[in-house]
Amino acid sequence: MAQEYTEYLAINVLNEQQLVSYRSLSRALKVHSNLAKQMLYEFHRKQNAKRPGSVHATYLITGTRRPESPSQTNGAHSQEDGGDTVMQSSPPLPGSSAPQHEEDAEEPVSVRSVLLVKEEHLEQAKATFESITGIHIYSLQANGLSDVQSLTECNRKITASYASEDPLQAWKQYGTIQNPNVKRRTQRRGPPPPAPVAKAAEPKTKPLAPTTKPTVLERQASKESKASQESKPASKPTSKPSSAKATPEPAKKPATVKRQDSDIFKSFAKGRAKPKKQDSQSSAEATTPAAAEPEDEPMGGFSDEDDDAEDGAADIDEVPQEPEGKSKKEREADLQAMMDQEDEIMEDAAEAIPDKTAAEEDEGAIDRPVSRQAEEPAKETVTVENGRRRGRRRVMKKKTVKDEDGYLVTKEEAAWESFSEDEPAPKKLKTAPATSTNKPTAAGKKGAAKAGQGNIMSFFSKK
C-alpha cells in the first residue's frame, strides 16, 4: 500500500511531469480522499528531503480571513494580496456588504474563504487568515505551477475516466460529501435508503455536482425504461445502474436491465412525445399493469403518471408512497406479466432489439442502466420565455422504409426536436394531482395535449 502510492506519484509527478491532485490520487488508488491528501504530503516531504525543490505543492487553506479595511471589501469580491488566489468561496456575512463603505467604523467582517495557494505563497496566505480551519495539499507537480487554472484539467480527467463508477457507492470509498436527502429515483416505491452520514470533508461543491448529475441521468434512465421490456444490448459505455429497489442498503449493486425503448412505447401508447421526463411514480406503473387492458392503457398510464409526477414532484419533496400492501413480489410479477405482453408489439415496431430473454431473466432486477451515452443531452430542456415554452425534447418520429421483399415497414425512431409552445401548458400539468391512482386515460389525454405537436393526442385536445 505504501509502495503503491510512492510508485504512482513517482511515475506521474516526476517522470511524466503531470499534475496530480488529491482527488485523482484517491480515484486512481481507490482510497479515501483524506488518505490521499496524507499520501501527497508524505511524498512531498520525502522527495524534498532527498532533493529540495523537486516536487512542488499547491495548498488549499480554509478558514476565516482577517477582516480587511472597508475600502477594500465590497461585499462580493475582495482581491487577494498575493495575487495568485483563484477561488473565493462563501460570500461575506450578510449585513456587511452594503453599508460597508458608508460607515466609518470598521465592522468586523469575517469571511470564510477557501484559498488555493502555491507553496511559495503559503506563508503569506496563511498570514491573511485569522483562523485556519483546514489546510492540506491540493496537488503536486514536478516544477512550479505556472497557471493555476491548469488544475481544472485534473477534475476533467477524473470525470472522464471514472464516469462509470456509481457515486452512490463510491462516495464512501472516496469520501465525497453526500447529501443525506439525495436518493436515486426508483421505479418502485419503497422505503427510502437510509440517510448516509455526511462526511466532514472540506466544503467542496464539486462532489455534489457529480452526485446530482447521476441522479439526473438516473431519472432519465428510469423514465425511459419504465414499462418497456425490450433490452437493448449492453453496448453503452457508461452504464449507471439505477436501483429501483429501494433496499435498506444503498450500497447494493443493482443488476442491469436495459429498457431503452419506453420512448417507443410511449408513442405507441397515445402517440405522446414526451418520453424523457423523470419518473418518480414508479409505484404507479407497478400498480397499473395489474389492470387487464389493451397494450395502450398501461403505457398511457405510465406516461401520465410520469408526467404528473414529474412536474408535481419536481422538487423531489413529497412523492406519495406506494401503499405497502402490494408486496415486492407481486409487483415484480405484474411487471413480468406486462413484459411478456408487450413483447409482441415491440417486435414489429422497434428497431433491432436483440435479446428479450435478458428482460425475462432480470425479473428480480428492477434496475436499469443509464444507456445513454454521456454525450447525448441528458434531459429535455425547457425554457420559458415570453409566454412560450421552448426547448428540446425527444419525439418519436415514424420512418417508413421498404423492406427487401418490397414490404413497407414503418419504424419508430427517437429524435430530438426543438419545440416551442404556449406557456399555459406546464401549469396545466402541474395542477394534475400527483397521486398514484389517476385515471390513466383522461389524464393521459390531457398530458399529451401539452407536450405534443403532431401526435395523435392533438386530436383529442382542446375540448
Partner: protein, 221 residues
C-alpha cells in the same frame, strides 16, 4: 466530422486553430505581455489563456493565416515561435514540426482524403476526439513549460518563423508577408551557442502528425 470527407484544407484549419492557441499560451507563459491582459478561455475542453489586446490578436491572426497559406502550398517544414530579447538575440524557440502533413496540388486542396489500412478498411483521416485529446495534452505541457524553462529576460518580444523544405519556392512575392532570413549556422557551431532541447509532445491523430519541442539558447543568462 465522420460524415464529411476531410480535405487538406480541414487538416490545415485544425492545425492553425491549434497554432493560434499555442501562440497565446506561449505569450502568457513567457510573460511577453502582462499576464493581466489575458483572459481565460476554453479550447479543446481545456482552460487556456487568450490575450485581450485587439492589436495582439490581430497580429497573431495575420501571422497564422500567412502560415496557413504556406502550409496549403506544402512548402513548410517547421513552424517556430521565437522569443527575442531587446537586442534581437533569440532566447528560445518553440518548434512545431509539420513536415509530415499531406501535401496536395492546388487543384486537390478540397479533395477528400482517404487512407486505407493494410486490411483495406478505411482509416479515419482526422479523428476529432483523438486529435483534441492530444492537442489538449500538448497545450497542457506547453502551459507548464513556463516552470521548466529559465525565466526570459525583461522586455522580450516574439515572432513567428517558418522553415521551408528544400523543395518549393520561398514566398517572396509582393505583397510580402514573410521576411526572408538567412539560415544561421547554429546547428554546426555548437561550441559558441549552447542549446538545450526540451521535448513537449508529439501529436499523431490520423493524418495530423506533428511534433513539438522547445529549443533554448544559453544567451539568456
Amino acid at each position: 466530422m465522420a460524415n464529411e470527407a476531410t480535405t487538406l484544407r480541414n487538416i490545415v484549419a485544425a492545425f492553425t486553430d491549434f497554432l493560434t492557441v499555442a501562440i497565446h499560451t506561449i505569450l502568457y507563459e513567457r510573460a511577453i505581455y502582462p499576464q493581466t491582459s489575458f483572459l481565460s478561455a476554453r479550447k479543446y475542453n481545456f482552460a487556456v489563456r487568450q490575450n485581450r489586446h485587439p492589436k495582439v490578436c490581430g497580429w497573431i491572426n495575420d501571422a497564422v493565416s500567412a502560415v496557413e497559406t504556406e502550409l496549403l502550398k506544402g512548402t513548410v517544414e517547421r513552424v517556430a515561435i521565437v522569443i527575442f530579447t531587446k537586442d534581437n538575440q533569440p532566447v528560445e524557440r518553440f518548434m512545431l514540426d509539420v513536415s509530415r502533413f499531406p501535401t496536395a496540388t492546388i487543384a486537390d486542396l478540397d479533395t477528400p482524403l482517404e487512407r486505407k489500412s493494410a486490411e483495406g478498411d478505411k482509416v479515419p483521416i482526422l479523428p476529432k476526439v483523438d486529435m483534441e485529446e492530444q492537442f489538449r495534452a500538448t497545450l497542457s505541457r506547453l502551459a507548464n513549460c513556463g516552470s521548466t524553462l529559465r525565466p526570459p529576460p525583461e522586455g522580450c518580444t516574439f515572432t513567428v518563423a517558418i522553415e521551408l523544405k528544400s523543395v518549393g519556392q520561398a514566398p517572396v512575392a509582393h505583397p510580402q508577408p514573410w521576411m526572408p532570413v538567412e539560415a544561421t549556422e547554429q546547428d554546426g557551431a555548437d561550441d559558441k551557442v549552447q542549446k538545450r532541447t526540451v521535448p513537449v509532445r508529439a501529436v499523431s491523430a490520423g493524418e495530423m502528425m506533428l511534433e513539438c519541442w522547445i529549443e533554448e539558447s544559453a544567451v539568456a543568462d
